[in-house]
Amino acid sequence: MRRDDVRFAAAARDDGMRKISKYTWRAGAAGVVCSAVIAVAFGHHVATQPPTAVHTGNGASNSSSGLSGGGASSSNTSGSSTSGSGTNGSGGSTTNQGQGTIVVPAQPPAPANGGGQVVSGAS
């Protein structure tokens, strides 16, 4: 092989390597930009996850929300009774309104005759 052939081959190889390196960097940079765009476009969905609360038996609750900087923050509250909830403890078979079901009454309505002392209807 002539010396010129060797030189041109080496130059072509170096040129190819430069191109591969350049495109690799560009692809990487494009990936970073795309990631940033996706994060900006859809990141708020993470921030808007509903607050979750786990109530303990004594009314204390641990709640988390996405208020702080889009991330989850947690706080402890004690005795944050949703006051109307348990309705004095005699309302239902379960009195902790924080539980994950609609609370059934301690006893169903009983039949009665005649008019009522008060009317339940829509307003």
Partner: protein, 327 residues
Amino acid sequence: MTTLAVGSDTFSVFGTTATLLVSEPGQVAAARVIADAELAAVDLACSRFRPDSELSRLNAAGGAVTTVSELFADLLEAALRAARLTDGDVDPTCGQALAEIGYDRDFAELRAAQAQAAGSPEAGGPPHRLRRAGHVPGWHSVQLDRGQRQVRLTHGAQLDLGATAKAWAADRCAEIIAGRLGSGVLVSLGGDMAVAGPAPGGGWRVRVTDDHAAGPEAPGQTVTIRSGGLATSSTTVRTWTGSGGQRVHHIINPATGEPARSCWRTVSVAAGSCVDANTASTAAIIRSAAALPWLRDAGLPARLVRGDGSVETTAGWPRDPGPDDAA
């Protein structure tokens, strides 16, 4: 069945009628004082029609984080709980949808405006138009940090706590009155009622019907309750005329942003609290036919009235009386 005499008081609040029944007649005045204070506080916290309310301030905050009172946080927490328990059927972010169908002012003012427009020769129709489906971003758009008492509304959400706040207030009043006075009490706010303390002999007699203002002998059914709450939702009462001349009502289906189309005209539910009863009755209207198995599975006693007046009951609700009593 004998029922001991009870004291009673009726007054206007939240654009509707409130009734207090107290098992000790001499304590009615004291109960009224307590109720007035509590209801005024709730109104100031979450009225959609008062510019000075916390709710109005939050709706106008443009998505900024807003610090709220303990009371408002309680009310919002109850609303979000109702949304969670009904898979979003009872949604507190219906404020804009309600405004878009014309319910953008106190209902008495809305009715007066409609009556005025109807009587005006130049009026081409009611003052509000039913446009495309309203905007209901969904309860996930509400961020509540309960510990810090901070709230942020995203996606343009506008709150309306009407579905739960009235019932929650009834629970709260009943609980406080019974606790302070030691007597049995029933608090009815526009027909959504909570009871607390010892019930009178025979229980509290309640006439269940379409309209809370209809009177104790209105077509329906009389039952007694001793604890918890009882609430009724209906598509027949809080109604007005849309732009096309159609009647619209205030129970929004969040999935469509429009008034719910239901096979039930009225649903009454008994539950462990008034807010739970109201949550279930409102969701039942929205769920239409699917409400019946849902209420049965949940074990909630309910009375559901179809458009033609036929009645279904669930979970121990007493069977409807004969036509003499129902008609």
